[in-house]
Symmetry: C3
Subunit: 109 residues, 3 copies
């Protein structure tokens, strides 16, 4: 048995939750504070048998890895009143921090 603690971006949390449900992996979601420190993240606690650790890591990696994305800024952000259309900029989204931890005992009451 291992406990996997996964911290992902809020925007990836719903998809990851659904992947866990599809794979019949029980996960608990902790709310993280909005705020100055890594705000907008969701923490998952997942308990799995040792032989499913790789599967869980793969799900997290696939749904939540850091990647570049094009985003079009809203037009009214232009401070000069320039009438040209805004163009898409590339931003990094996603990214997951994952700890796999040993477990001495697991119980389900």
């Amino acid at each position: 048995m291992k406990l996997i603690l996964a911290i992902v971006q809020d925007k990836d949390a719903n998809i990851l939750s659904n992947e866990f449900i599809d794979a019949n992996i029980r996960a608990t979601k902790l709310s993280t504070t909005g705020g100055f420190l890594r705000s907008g993240n969701t923490t998952f606690i997942v308990g799995v048998e040792d032989d499913r650790v790789e599967e869980v890591l793969e799900l997290i990696k696939q749904t939540s890895h850091a990647r570049q994305q094009f985003m079009t800024p809203p037009a009214n952000l232009d401070p000069m009143g320039d009438s040209s259309m805004p163009y898409p900029i590339e931003v990094q989204v996603g990214g997951a921090t994952v700890f796999v931890m040993p477990v001495d005992q697991f119980h389900h009451f």
Copy 2:
């Protein structure tokens, strides 16, 4: 020293908190998100000496184990306008997922 992570139903959390206080066991409660994934759960972090692990597990088991409960549905849920009284149905409540984890160092500053 062990860290016990216990995920219980919200409806059992208050009683369990009081049991911990009565037993002089220090517990920290984390809020879980309302939502689609195991919503309505509360996560406790409990730090205890090895020789009190069994006692903590027993408290969690006694207050939070899965059990059947009779619940009477509200009368106005009957879509047919039937005037008969609603009868109690049996539902499962409670249930706890518990991890006992090794601790390298414990500090209280």
Copy 3:
């Protein structure tokens, strides 16, 4: 790699967060429930290399240790209508509970 779980008072959480940022230590903050059980606390999850554990512990100790503080109660708490000024009383603030835990695998996707 170690996972450090630190539970500190809310009033010390902002300063500790800033210390972590200054030291380039990545921390995730979990909200704790307001309520009857150790309310007003914040839980940090910090992942660090073994050789930085002492540094993290020292930051937590310095910013969040229990200490005595003088606090002046508000004047309108006097039930006798006594017109004398309230005098400062000494209260304990702060205090941190810290677990250093082993980690089998650490990933950053």
